[in-house]
Amino acid sequence: MFLVIAPLSELLTYGNTGYLDELIWGAVATIQISVFAYAFGISLGLLGAMGKLSAGPIIRTLLNFYTTVFRAVPELVLIMLLYYAGTDGLNRLMLSVGVGPIELNGIAVAIFVLGFVQGAYSTEVLRAAIQAVPLGQVEAAKAYGMSPITAFRRITLPAMLPYAIPGLGNLWLNITKDSALVSVVGALELANETRVAAGGTKYYLTFYLIAALFYWSISLLSNFGFSWLEHRVRRGQPKLA
């Protein structure tokens, strides 16, 4: 059991000998990737949901293809496909305009890739939530002469949030966990930094437990946050059983 009780005071020092700074930067990168990819995913999801509900048949078919394929293929496969395709495509583009290949920021690529995958799930969550808003309320807003944007902001959005928040909360938990997957394509976030630290010191169990505790605390904190949020957007509505 000596590998479990590692000399934490030595391993977790700041600077060249210990791994505390690497782990902290990894954790920061994980949170960065999760937050930005989540925001990107929800923006895509909002566009996708609106497209699915109100666009013409061609856009609808394309969006159906996007949500079906992206939800049926493993995230890891998608991340690799998008990562290689994205970096390769961008470099070819740069070459064709006469600039040499560029070194891409691993975190930026991770955000783009995860957000694109997340967008498919967000589209479905938001579409279902928007559809759950009674049509009469939207029609009433129109009858009051509200522009589509005003009607969305003042009627549809607040009315759909109680339906959307639980799903969006799950998506947030998923993306914090899925952010570990981008370590496979080399982004330096917490899972990857942990792997480096564990491999360098051979204290595998210690470092993976530290990383697991970090992810776990993000999840537990987020649970509190989302249940508060759900409570807030549901105010004035009957309690759930």
Binding site: F2, L3, V73, P74, M80, Y84, L181, Y208, W216, L220
Partner: protein
């Protein structure tokens, strides 16, 4: 697009074995995980505190941490401890404890157990109290209530969620390639490193995963229609 590699029998063989491994990981982990999930759900509803609290912590940990970290925790973490214990190296368990496949299977199963345990908890809670009281009133013992009323009713509630759970589990199996298992993702990785072709093998396995998802969806639709439901 360069698909010439697909004509080589060795790559077809790799992919076929990979598909087999993926299917074994999928069904093995779902079956083992579900068997573990039933007691995990049950003790959270009726168990004494010394079972209920660990079960709750286990489910929360599994659901709150990335599967990749769990898998590495088992494979690299536990796996690095075993070789340091001399008698394990000579025991019959050594071939098992050395193989990434078993660690992948274990962590995938524990993952199903955690997620499905939480769902089973809800399902056990969702069985109407009156039915359990009626079973009691008929003089059934605690076990008989569980096996004849409580468990079957709870499982029927869980069945519709099982299809989704199977699909998300299928999408978790490629993680096994990070612990050296040669399932579909591992086979693709071997083909890519042999031929320097990256996209085509990835696209091929993406299509295979989509077909598997389609089969699971259809299969569960069929199963659900077989079970008579009265509402």
């Amino acid at each position: 697009m360069n698909w010439s590699w697909i004509a080589y029998p060795e790559y077809i063989h790799l992919l076929a074995v990979g598909l087999l491994y993926t299917i074994i990981l999928l069904f093995g982990s779902v079956i083992v995980g579900f068997i573990l999930a039933v007691p995990l759900g049950l003790v959270q509803v009726t168990g004494p505190a010394y079972l209920r609290i660990p079960a709750k912590i286990f489910c929360s940990f599994i659901r709150g941490t990335p599967l990749l970290i769990q898998m590495w925790l088992l494979y690299y973490g536990l796996g690095s401890i075993f070789p340091s214990i001399p008698w394990i190296r000579t025991s019959f368990l050594w071939p098992v404890l050395r193989e990434g496949f078993y660690y992948a299977m274990l962590s995938l199963s524990l993952s199903v157990a955690g997620y499905e345990g939480e769902i089973m908890r809800g399902a056990f809670l969702g069985v109407p109290r009156g039915e359990l009281e009626a079973a009691r009133a008929f003089g059934m013992s605690g076990w008989k209530v569980l096996s004849r009323v409580w468990f079957p009713r709870a499982v029927l509630q869980v069945l519709p969620t099982l299809a989704g759970e199977m699909i998300s589990q299928l999408k978790s199996t490629p993680l096994a390639f990070t612990v050296t298992v040669m399932e579909l993702m591992g086979a693709r990785s071997k083909i890519s490193s042999d031929t320097y072709i990256i996209y085509e093998p990835l696209i091929l396995i993406a299509i295979i995963y989509m077909i598997l998802t389609f089969i699971i969806t259809r299969g569960f639709n069929y199963l659900e229609r077989l079970i008579p439901q009265r509402r």
